[in-house]
């Protein structure tokens, strides 16, 4: 068949043609291959030449992780080297919330191994609310070796729980120093913002704690130290593989205080169950020797965030243990104001030491009767007697003669009504009344009648025990005022270099020696034969003092204050200021005992114990409670 023939012929030519066509298509595929390989090569050139720097940086940052190494916080010791705040190493159990499936059951499982108190749980819960999920949070601190061993054996069952060796801050003296040393605590968001604003945040990478109160807060920059940095190579899981470089952290500076821990203890215990404050100052330097606010609290509770129950207890306690009475509590000075009033009278020439008034037992002003303590009055009273017997009438008159603004101007010199500038934060300024102050405060004019009670330390007068102590020290130091400071020196533990906080006189009040002498002699007599004599009976050193009693509630002019009829919290505050020895004062102090009645009875005995210990090394047998 022709068809078959044609087909056969076509088939042969087709085979040749097929092969050509196939090779043609193969050629197209070859070009396809080459062009795709070219594409790859271009990509490699782009990545490995032009983007090399970029990717090298990425690779480096991938593998290098910078880990902060927290420095050791400086310790705080008293003037004799007694430890007030230090660090100790202990194990803590920490939970990373986002690595744990069921937090509650993990904690329960943990509780079967080591003791976890309800307080630990509450604190953890509070911490949980304040932290990020990937942060490792402590559930239990200070584990014993036994507990660590038990945990290690059960660790596999508790993913997300880790035992870590940590440095803990401890305050071995507990509540005695709570208002001076203060405490540290976990850094909160507000503090992070503050650190960030100050440009100090980088130094806190790796730090969990920051000073929250007291010296821990005010000397934070000295105590914290410099954070070290470790550059480590990490794998993709973030685990450190090896260390590339390390710059060691620099430990914080140590603080040595003027404070005498044993004196503080004597003073703190002298209050017994009473509330109050005592500040003792070295008049020649302004160094604070004792700084008591009672009751205190255990600062150790705050280190790892306080549990809510303890917090509520402290915060709602009627005794206000969280209030720093010495620094931020303000009280009318009562009669302890009189020595300064007397000086003002002499200073402005309104009185001479010899000049006497006749005290009928009251002072009439504008039809208003200002009563004296003693019914019928003290008779003829000069400056000396006015202090020894604490005559109110003398000072009513003096205040009236001086006028409020002269009083205010003079008292400003002694630091009343303004912050002393002590090295603690949260200081109150108190109130030094003046016509300008009243205008500012109440938008009202000062009435001359209001001046009268200011003369005996009542009225609008309101000062901190610290201010009173500083004023007493200034008086003892013949009118040369020092800024009070608690820290004696800061020691760099690397270089051993000590930075001494130099006693810097803030001002010389330029008081006349004879004026000072007149007031001082009267104050010496107070402790010998006057209102303070009972407390200072048989004292082997000479001391000067002044008692004070400050009204908590106003007493109607016609009624008499009868202690037993007044609720405890409304009773008068007892005050006392003193310094000793009188020849060359080594210590000046102010004491206030809340709601304790007469200063002579409640406050002066405390001062006696403190002076006895400081000057004689005599330890008291019991608190100076009033009988």
């Amino acid at each position: 068949m022709p068809k078959q023939f044609i087909n056969a012929g076509v088939e042969i030519r087709d085979a040749e043609q097929e092969l050509q066509r196939f090779r043609y298509r193969l050629g197209i595929l070859s070009i396809f291959i080459l062009s795709l390989f070219c594409l790859l090569i271009i990509r490699f050139i782009y990545l490995q030449i032009f983007q090399k720097e970029h990717y090298t940086t990425l690779a480096e940052s991938n593998r290098i992780s910078v880990l902060p190494i927290a420095p050791h916080r400086g310790v705080i010791v008293d003037r004799n080297g007694i430890m007030l705040a230090h660090n100790y190493s202990a194990y803590t159990l920490e939970i990373t919330p986002n690595k744990v499936e069921d937090l509650e059951s993990t904690i329960n499982a943990l509780a079967a191994i080591v003791e976890i108190t309800p307080r630990d749980r509450r604190r953890f819960k509070k911490l949980l609310g304040e932290s990020k999920r990937f942060e490792s949070l402590p559930i239990r601190n200070r584990l014993t070796d036994d507990e660590i061993a038990r945990f290690a054996a059960n660790r596999y069952r508790l993913p997300g729980v880790e035992a870590k060796a940590r440095l803990f801050r401890q305050y071995p003296q507990g509540d005695m120093f709570s208002h001076v040393i203060g405490h540290i605590g976990r850094i909160n968001t507000r503090e992070i913002e503050q650190l960030s604003d100050d440009g100090r945040l980088a130094n806190y990478r790796g730090s969990d704690y920051i000073g929250k109160a007291g010296l821990e807060q005010s000397y934070e920059q000295y105590l914290h130290g410099t954070t070290g940095v470790e550059e480590v190579e990490v794998d993709s899981g973030g685990r450190a593989v090896r260390t590339l470089s390390r710059s060691a952290p620099i430990s914080g500076n140590n603080l040595t205080l003027h404070l005498d821990a044993r004196l503080q203890e004597v003073a703190y215990n002298a209050f017994g169950d009473r509330r109050g404050a005592l500040v003792a100052i070295d008049p020649a330097t302004g160094g604070v020797l004792a700084f008591v606010s009672k009751p205190g609290f255990d600062p150790n509770l705050f280190v790892d965030n306080i549990d809510p129950q303890s917090w509520t207890e402290l915060n709602t306690s009627i005794n206000k243990p969280l209030l720093n009475r010495a620094l931020a509590g303000t009280y009318p000075p009562g009669s302890t104001f009189k020595p300064f009033m007397a000086l003002a009278g002499l200073f402005y020439g309104k009185r001479t030491p010899q000049q006497a008034i006749s005290d009928p037992g009251y002072f009439m002003f504008g039809g208003h009767r200002f009563r004296d303590d003693k019914e019928g009055g003290h008779g003829a009273v000069n400056l000396f007697q006015s202090l020894v017997v604490s005559c109110d009438t003398y000072y009513y008159m003096l205040a009236n003669d001086l006028g409020i603004d002269a009083i205010a101007n003079f008292m400003t010199l002694f630091g009343f009504g303004s912050k002393t500038g002590i090295d603690l934060k949260g200081e109150a300024s108190g109130i030094l009344p003046s016509s300008e102050w009243k205008q500012r405060r109440f938008k009202q004019k000062w009435f001359p009648g209001e001046t009268i009670s200011v003369g005996i330390g009542q009225g609008y007068n309101s000062y901190t025990p610290l201010q009173l102590a500083v004023a007493t020290a200034t008086l003892a130091n013949n009118g040369i005022a020092f800024k009070p400071h608690i820290v004696n020196h800061v020691e760099n533990i690397q270089t051993k270099a000590k930075t001494v906080i130099e006693p810097s006189p803030t001002r010389d009040l330029q008081l006349k020696p004879e004026h000072l002498e007149a007031v001082k002699q009267a104050m010496i007599a107070v402790n010998k034969e006057g209102t303070g004599s009972r407390a200072f009976i048989d004292a082997p050193y000479s001391s000067a003092g002044k008692t004070g009693t400050a009204q908590v509630i106003a007493i109607k002019q016609d009624s008499k204050y009868i202690e037993s009829q007044v609720a405890e919290r409304h009773r008068d505050h007892a005050l006392f200021i003193a310094y000793a020895p009188t020849e060359k004062p080594k210590i000046a102090l102010a004491v206030i005992v809340e709601n304790a009645g007469f200063g002579a009875r409640a406050a002066a005995p405390i001062a006696r114990l403190v002076l006895d210990y400081y000057l004689l090394g005599k330890l008291p047998k019991q608190p100076a409670t009033d009988e």
Partner: protein, 368 residues
Amino acid sequence: MSPPLFQRILQYLARHLDRGLIIGLIMLMATGLIVLTSASNGNYMRVLSQLLNMTVAFAVMWGFANIPPHYLMRLALPLFMIACGLLLGVAVAGDVVNGARRWLHLGVTRIQPSELMKIALPLMLAWYFNRHEASLNTRNYITAALILLFPVLLIARQPDLGTALLIMASGCYVIFLAGLSWRIIAGLAISGVASLPFLWSKMHNYQQQRILTLLDPSEDPLGSGYHTIQSTIAVGSGGILGKGWMNGTQTHLDFIPERTTDFIFAVFAEEFGLFVNLILITLFLFLIARALVITSEATTLFNRLIAGAITMTFFTYVFVNMGMVSGILPVVGVPLPLISYGGTSLVSICLGFGILMSIHSHKRLPNY
């Protein structure tokens, strides 16, 4: 003087092997062992086990080099039927691993039928075209397309889009080489592009994610972008000269995922740099060029199509893997031929080269 007995035995054994292909394969495999030593972080068991894989692969290659191609032709239809049956089995009763139904339990062992289909489909298509060689018309191409699409859709449904596309590519190469008219190719290309939005909508979330990630890996740096970001960093930071063997930080600090298998090229590029990279590409090109020569000299249509499919598939694997590692293609689970660790890939690649050698050495012998 006749050569010694031993040498003659060797010559007899090697009579179906191809010198060019052997040289290329050995050089690439040696490179693979060097990179693997570093990538496995000095885990010599892994290197030894790869060496064993290579031995097996060579044996398989030798075996297939000695099988005349027309025997393979007889295998084509049954093999394809079996592979299709297994794929259907997977669709009905496969094991679900990582959300995809890819494995089939056969009593003692599990198999991934899509692996078998990689060989079965080109064989089937080549056999089909060879059978209708005398009278190829449009209807044959349509039939071929159906043969192609059936397994591809089954695999895509598993879902294993990467493998489905690779198998589809190997089938397309066969159809293209079989002489599909340009007009149809153009038409398919246009309709293919037009149907992209539809395909997109049919894709699984993670498949869409992989493609999106390719466009911007930083979008999802810890999820699907992680592989691409880390391997691109490895390649880029290698620079011109590389960081040195065993010195790749990305490699040794565990930033490169799957660094002994699919991402081994990232290790290579990081430690050896651009120059050696180009040498590697040249080696691959050399191997492909030799395979193309063999393809062009093949005597029957079946041989040509099979040789072309093997060559082009090999190229595709190389390109897709390198493209994926350097961040120009989405992440699909494709090993780098001859370099990546793993027996299956090595054996199937060498099996392909064995067929190529057989086609070459049997072309002068009467086939059937």
